[in-house]
Amino acid sequence: MSTTTTDPAASGTALERRGIPLGDLLFRGAAAAAAYGVVVLLGLITWKILDLAWPAIQEFGLEFIWTEAWNPVTDTYGALTFIYGTVVTSVIALLLATPLSIAIALFLTEIAPRRLAAPIATMIELLAAIPSVVLGLWGILVFGPWVAQHLEPWLESTLGFLPIFSGDPSQAGMLPAALVLTIMIIPITSAICRELFIRTPRELTDGAMALGSTRWEAIRGVMFAYAAPGIAAAVLLGLGRAFGEAIAVTQVIGGADYISRSLFAPADTLGSRIASQYQGATSQLQAGSLLYLAAILMVISLVTNVLAQLIVRKFEKQRRAV
């Protein structure tokens, strides 16, 4: 692939040596400016968010990150409640979505007849297309009440000995938020896994099956080993999406200033706290603290995304070498 990109450029430089036409110069300049502009833009976003949060960072220091407080009356703020909410909802979503996504991808590539696989893949793509605000509307008006009336009482009666599954059922809380996030990341991770499984060389699984293993044994022993880094990247990309989602979570999580042990209780994530209080900030410090939360959110999602991209790159290089 990279050869197709370089060769025209090489013949371009041959042209340029004979004197560069003005049109070429302008066009190339504009394209280069746009391309490097994106690099600048990414840097600018990072810098500006940190710059906006700087007064709060100076005021509260790094302690802010592990302080559990949000009290506009005494003007004390901390991020721990929201980091906890973000991590717990995202991790639950991931634990549910990863096996489901892998199973869906295997269904589409290994089990379903081709005529069935294509429309089902399209439908799962459409699931990704539902705007988060619409999913949130469904979450708050239909799904949340169902969770409170049926799912949470059932969980409490069967797993109530665990503190996370005890307490009063509630329409808005961490559990519905985690489930809505699950719905949002399934299409992302399953699409990437499907791509990975399609690209796994047939002869590898065929070889395993020729040696007498069943389809599942071939998949578990050969395909997973081959696709593992890609699956890890898919999971990280899903995680990045779950961390960053603000709107649907705001609608279903309820909002709380403190950490509750129960998953049924209302909470807040970094994104949902920012989205729900953006207009209501009463003091400079509170506004600054919200920006501090945004900076934490940005750093977390940058790290997850860069990590995922590096894994993908490494994986692609390896595959090209093979």
């Binding site: 990279s2 197709t4 990109t5 450029a9 013949s11 036409p21 049109g23 070429d24 066009f27 190339r28 394209a31 400016a33 746009a34 502009g37 994106v38 990414l42 976003i45 500006k48 968010i49 489901l100 199973a103 295997l106 269904f107 589409l108 089990i111 379903a112 089902i120 439908m123 799962i124 793509e125 459409l126 297309a129 539902i130 705007p131 988060s132 605000v133 619409v134 949130g136 509307l137 007498g212 069943t214 389809r215 599942w216 999406r241 960053g244 603000a246 709107i247 609608q251 920012i274 989205a275 953006y278 920006l291 945004a294 959110l297 940005m298 999602s301 940058l302 995304n305 991209q309 790159r313």
Partner: protein, 298 residues
């Protein structure tokens, strides 16, 4: 070491071949879990779409499209939000698409094998920046001091749209056959002319697919608009120097309202938005199919 491993392996093989029944059950479970998982995902899609359709359809009358949002519980519509969304998404397309295409051209036609992958990572990372962070960025550099405006909202959406369209375009440009470029260059056509009149037209379908999918995603974005274009009057307006109401922000406020009338309006607005998004996605699929046939036909 290797000897003991060997023994271990042989041991495993005998055990598993003795358990043919067990292996068959595991195989069945595998197939069943695949079918079940796909059914869950499709079921959720049907459930959400069905609910929105069921709850929204009864509200959809002509008035709903022609009247602005109600002030105090009276009958109203979403005309103001529809117009605002159209204006903001329109401006966003005008800003983002040309830039994105230029970026893609630089990546596939000019950048070397080292720069191009680097730009790809930058675009993918930019694509992963949470929408709400992009909203705060625009808030920080423009809204603070100037106040909210539809233009700023469009800029925030353009930042989200840029990497999506650029990546999609770059991927189609890479599959335009090299022979096309070489033929033009051999005839003495300048490089920019070749790119503009030969490469881009062959790739136009793919670019369009990328744009359509990006528009579908951006039209439903709420978070960036909360900070840039949310405090708006309930009236139809084309004044882009002020905040304009939009469909996603309207749904967001409707959904948080305890008033059943507003919730009903929220369902209807959601139905309009989802119909728009789904139609765009299906259109993108059709365009992509035509493009594939065109490029393969060459």
């Amino acid at each position: 070491m290797s000897h003991s491993e060997d023994v271990q392996d042989r041991h495993d093989v005998t055990v598993s071949s003795n358990n043919l029944r067990k292996r068959r059950i595991v195989e069945r479970l595998f197939a069943a879990s695949g079918i079940l998982s796909a059914a869950i995902a499709v079921g959720i899609l049907a459930l959400v779409l069905g609910t929105v359709l069921f709850k929204g359809l009864s509200q959809l009358k002509l008035d709903f499209f022609t009247k602005p949002r109600p002030l105090f519980g009276e009958e109203g519509g979403i005309a103001d939000a529809l117009v605002g969304s159209a204006v903001i998404v329109g401006m966003c397309i005008v800003v983002a698409v040309p830039l994105a295409v230029l970026i893609a051209i630089y990546m596939s036609e000019y950048a070397g094998p080292r720069v191009s992958p680097f730009l790809r990572i930058v675009l993918d990372v930019l694509n992963g920046v949470p929408a709400i962070v992009v909203g705060i960025f625009i808030f920080g550099i423009l809204v603070v001091g100037h106040g909210q405006s539809a233009v700023y909202g469009a800029l925030a959406l353009a930042i989200l749209m840029l990497p999506m369209v650029a990546r999609a375009t770059q991927e189609v440009l890479e599959i335009v056959p090299r022979s096309q470029r070489e033929a033009a260059l051999a005839l003495g056509v300048t490089k920019w002319r070749t790119t503009w009149s030969i490469v881009l037209p062959s790739a136009i379908g793919g670019i369009l697919t990328g744009v359509v999918i990006a528009v579908a995603r951006v039209a439903g974005e709420t978070a960036p608009l909360l900070f840039t274009s949310s405090i708006a009057a309930n009236q139809v307006s084309l004044d882009v120097s002020h905040a304009l109401p939009t469909l996603p922000v309207a749904i967001f406020t409707f959904s948080e309202s305890p008033d059943p009338n507003e919730q009903a309006a929220g369902w209807a607005a959601a139905l309009v938005l989802i119909a728009f998004v789904l139609v765009l996605n299906i259109a993108a699929k059709l365009i992509a199919g035509r493009q594939r046939r065109k490029l393969e036909g060459i």
